[in-house]
């Protein structure tokens, strides 16, 4: 009951914040979808960080470190610290500039305008939306599982079928409703405020959890001595977890491409456009790598410690937990008690919801701008009606996502990395659109179709995600090079984009001049 009460208080605080922010709503569609370009450096930092970090940053990182060792940090965290900020600086600032100048709200508007083609918008629409749906489902299903796990035994008679825990369907319904309410009323401003609150919550709770677990495992006097004792146990029982001996070097290198997906995430694109000015990006560019370190480093260490941590002579986390990502919750349950358990659950929900809200709003904005307003005469709608359309689409997307989550498609979890790979495959398109005048609409088509084809082929090769450890094997230098599928997808994407652009007629000067003002007449 303690855990449920803490989660309840947290959700109530979040709702209050979202509803309060709605009092600042100015009544325009630009305010609803972009907060009238009013977001300052701190809110942009927190909302971008909260949006790019999912629950995986807390529980997945611990679970992966439990199975793979310390290499997980280099694989996913330090690489993201370099590449995400690179995307913010090279892509985000320019996108903000063009968005502010030409009045874009969605990615599709930008590509349609930059390439002078309606068709490219139609081609991108199902791909961009389709790649977000599994991402949304993962969040909704995970939130149900978190609340269910935290409340087991609370209602033994009412929810006997779920061992007394709040059933997944009800927990997911509550989370969807909370997110829907603050996105519906608060729009982008509510989302940015809620993300800032939630990001603060999961960062602070991550550090608190680390300290409590270190002290629980070490059994010594003082945090420092406890951390040394916890690591010493690993050095004795599982020294391989303190190295990357089990990890493929080339696979590690190819994983570096995955964070480029941030450059093509539609919800990150929309957050960029909320910035008050180009200068607003400076703080996120600098601090993002530090925030990643602050969240990931403790979680990775806890995951490594969990391999060898004992209580009363017994392993705290049995090797059987190795495929469930429950290592962190098991450690908290056994070493900390219900209060920290409830706070940690709230922290995990915060990480989940800070991505869900942006994605719901983004998909609602895409349907409103790229379907309704683009294909019907925009002038027939008042600002109030446009906001109503956006809200209706947000409600519809939340309802559809929740409905799909009821089928509990577990295989959707394996799709996470595939979604990221798809967005990374499209990264050359946004990069070329911003920095290569010679990009043609045919080159863009070739790029998108190649990414779609390669993605579908490799996804099928992996048994449609059934083989979670699928890697692409390339025979070279007398051996099989093991790599993430993202590498062949991205290489093919670049080749198709460049080759087809070069053999087709250059884009018209008037189109290019709008995006490259320095072009000589």
């Amino acid at each position: 009951m303690t855990q449920l009460a803490i989660i309840g208080v947290y959700l109530a605080l979040l709702l209050g914040l979202g509803l309060f922010s709605s009092r600042l709503f100015r009544g325009t569609s630009e305010d609803y979808m972009l907060a009238s370009h009013s977001i300052g450096p701190f809110l942009l930092l927190m909302s971008l960080f909260g949006t790019t970090m999912t629950a995986f940053a807390l529980v997945g990182s611990t679970g992966e470190a439990f199975r793979e060792g310390i290499g997980v940090y280099g694989l996913m965290a330090s690489s993201s610290g370099i590449v995400h900020s690179l995307c913010f600086l090279l892509i985000g600032v320019k996108i903000w500039s063009f968005g502010y100048k030409h009045g874009y709200t969605t990615q599709i508007q930008f590509f349609r305008d930059r390439l002078g083609s309606n068709g490219i918008g139609l081609l991108l629409f199902p791909i961009i939306v389709g790649l977000v749906i599994p991402y949304l489902l993962i969040g909704v299903i995970a939130s149900g599982a978190v609340i269910n796990g935290a409340t087991i035994g609370t209602f033994p008679e009412t929810f006997a079928a779920t061992r007394g825990g709040v059933p997944h369907w009800l927990a997911a319904l509550v989370i969807c409703s909370v997110v829907l309410i603050y996105v519906f009323f608060g729009g982008m401003r509510g989302t940015a405020w809620a993300n800032t609150f939630q990001t603060s919550v999961f960062m602070i709770l991550g550090v608190v959890t680390f300290v409590v677990i270190a002290n629980g495992i070490g059994g010594q006097e003082g945090l420092w001595a406890n951390m040394q004792a916890a690591t010493a146990k690993v050095a004795e029982a599982h020294p391989d977890r303190l190295t990357r001996s089990e990890m493929s070097k080339f696979m590690f290198t190819t994983y570096l491409l995955i964070p480029l997906s941030v450059g093509m995430f539609p919800h990150v694109f929309q957050h960029w456009l909320t910035a008050r000015s180009a200068q607003t990006f400076k703080l996120p560019v600098i601090v993002h790598p530090l925030f990643i370190m602050l969240v990931w480093a403790p979680c990775v260490m806890v995951g490594v410690w969990a391999t060898s941590a004992t209580l009363n002579g017994q392993l705290i986390v049995s090797p059987g937990a190795a495929t469930t990502n429950k290592e962190l919750t098991i450690l908290v349950a056994k070493l900390a008690g219900p209060v920290l358990g409830g706070l940690l659950s709230a922290g995990i929900l915060a990480a989940i919801m800070s991505s869900l809200d942006s994605q719901f709003l983004c998909i609602g904005s895409i349907f409103t701008n790229d379907i309704v307003l683009h294909y019907w005469d925009k002038k027939r709608f008042t600002e109030k009606q446009i906001v109503m359309w956006a809200r209706l689409f947000v409600v519809a997307i939340v309802a559809v996502t929740y409905g799909l989550s009821l089928f509990e498609p577990r295989s959707v979890f394996a799709m996470g990395i595939w979604c990221f790979s798809g967005y990374t495959g499209l990264f050359p398109l946004v990069f070329a659109a911003l920095y290569w005048k010679r990009l043609t609409v045919a080159g863009a088509y070739a790029c998108v179709l190649t990414v779609a084809g390669m993605w579908l082929w490799l996804f099928a090769e992996s048994g449609f995600g059934a083989n979670a450890n699928y890697t692409f094997q390339l025979p070279a230098f007398g051996q099989q090079l093991e790599m993430m599928p993202v590498l062949p997808i991205t290489v093919a994407s670049v080749v198709a984009l460049v080759a087809v652009s070069l053999v087709t007629s250059p884009p018209p000067d008037e189109t290019v001049r709008r995006f490259f003002p320095d072009l000589k007449s």
Binding site: S29, E30, I70, G71, Y73, G74, A77, S78, S79, G81, I82, S85, L89, V93, K94, W96, S97, F98, Y100, K101, H102, G103, Y104, T105, Q109, R112, D113, R114, W224, Q228, T231, A232, A235, L242, T243, R244, S245, K249, F252, T253, L256, S277, A278, Q279, K282, V285, I286, H288, P289, L290, I292, M293, A297, V300, M301, N369, L373, H374, K378, P517
Partner: protein, 78 residues
């Protein structure tokens, strides 16, 4: 300076592939394995480097947008 910053980013990406510490389980301060410590260093170096990039590699042309008028186009709001 601008080129030095971008060159440093490339160097940082190369350092990220620290194969030389791949199998080394040496503990720093008895807590952090050297393979993890090196990547924590990369995270810190990234923050410093991006700080320098915002000074020396900043796209000032983006700021000119702020003083120009906002125009709505075909691809604008709809």
């Amino acid at each position: 300076m601008k080129y030095a910053i971008w060159l440093s980013v490339v160097v940082l990406l190369i350092l990220h592939q620290d194969f030389w510490w791949w199998d080394d389980g040496t503990l720093l301060l008895g807590i952090v394995p050297v393979g993890l410590a090196s990547h924590l260093g990369i995270s810190l170096a990234a923050a410093v480097l991006w700080c320098l990039a915002t000074i020396y590699c900043w796209p000032h042309s983006a700021e000119e947008t702020e003083s120009s008028n906002v125009s709505t186009t075909e691809g604008g709001q709809g």
